[in-house]
Symmetry: C2
Subunit: 251 residues, 2 copies
């Protein structure tokens, strides 16, 4: 399967690493805005010109959401152009052969992520193109799930909650620890158990703590203790939400 | 080591299960508010009378924070009385031999939790009592960390963030999924990766998503999409906090 890859951000780099290790995939070109070299170490040609992308090829765009429209306009009308965004509709792409290949994962440049068993949401404008994206996902050992743009958008929003927002709670917890000369490492087993718990329990059954117990005394003590304005808002907002959402849970 | 256990809630049940499997520990009595049987299946006597707790014994209280003071007043002055709360000061206990044994973990009745390598924050009023709590933690294969009440309070607050609040984000994500006919299972690998990521990356380095990228278009689209008032508040509060806290991160 011949592929051109556009983008060299966090996701672009991860896709590059995956594409070059699977023998079923032939990466024929990698587009980067700033092409400092003409080929990669693995021998893949690099270009900074979107016109170089050959006709009829599957072109995977790993570019920021707000640039998808302008990038797609510079690519041959005869390419099969696919974006990798959770929040953008497929309709942003002007090519007749178009689609979406959205891996449901958080990619950081300094951490390798396995595509094995990873959910990849796929969608194509033409039904006959779907098989190509299914095959690509299978080559990566990922799990393709066909999904329209509205559902994918909802799933992306849910991913923001469980990844971006959760990670920010880690940021706040780390700051709290450091400001009181405590090691953040102390919390790491609890962080893992929190994620492992809902692999088998429902999130509702897994809920514990002062908010669900309506332990007003502890909640007041916590709020009095918090100095940081943002953290105070987070604490109040989430405590209220737990009370309203899980409030009828039997304890 | 002879122990009496007070309380049969989530933590009390978990401690009971631990105490009966370690041969170094002899559980001599289990206090329950409603003692339906006189002994447990493992032969441990059950009582509903706190006066039954013998003098000079280590008494572990796994009771709600607001009841610690009244429970401690009903126990012999000559017992070594220890509570298991993160948010309560050691000073709530009236006995001269007093302390705290706080396992940093989230306990649900329907899931077994390993004490192996678990952080247990310990504190005692008398220095010579510290060794007893260290030994208890070691019998359970847990990691005792000596910590005063102020630091333990901060760590408990941080635990609320990374466990209770994170779990509520899972609750909200599950509701979003179900309201759009999506399986919550799709998110489980991402939830695990989020927790695994910060075992090696700092939370700051692990932060990704629309808020840290200041992707206002996606943020607006998400907010327009959210129907639930509580979720809308959570989304705005956390997005603002990410912007202010991680705002200077290089992307």
């Amino acid at each position: 399967m011949k592929i051109a890859l556009v983008g060299a951000g966090n996701l672009g780099i991860h896709l590059y690493r995956e594409f070059v290790i699977h023998p079923e995939i032939e990466l024929v070109l990698w587009h980067q805005n700033k092409a400092l070299k003409s080929t990669t170490e693995e021998g893949v040609p690099i270009t900074s010109n979107l016109n170089d992308i050959p006709d009829g090829i599957l072109c995977i765009m790993a570019v920021p959401d707000h640039t998808i429209a302008s990038v797609t306009q510079q690519i041959s009308e005869k390419a099969f152009v696919v974006h990798t965004s959770g929040a953008s509709s497929m309709d942003v792409i002007i090519q007749k052969n178009s689609g979406v290949f959205y891996p449901l994962q958080s990619f950081s440049s300094t951490r390798s992520v396995s595509f094995t068993d990873l959910t990849v949401c796929i969608e194509t404008r033409k039904k006959e193109d779907l098989h190509t994206l299914e095959t690509l996902a299978q080559h990566l050992k990922a799990r393709p799930v066909e999904m329209d743009s509205a559902k994918r958008f909802t799933l992306h929003l849910a991913a923001v909650l469980v990844n971006n927002f959760t990670n920010h709670l880690y940021v706040q917890a780390e700051q709290l620890c450091h400001s009181h000369d405590l090691s953040f490492d102390l919390l790491k087993p609890l962080i893992l158990e929190t994620a492992q718990k809902i692999q088998t329990l429902t999130p509702n059954d897994a809920q514990t703590g002062p908010a669900i117990r309506k332990d007003e005394k502890t909640i007041s003590k916590h709020l009095d203790w918090i100095q940081n304005t943002e953290l105070k808002k987070i604490y109040s907002t989430l405590t209220t939400a737990i009370n309203k959402t899980n409030g009828n849970k039997k304890l």
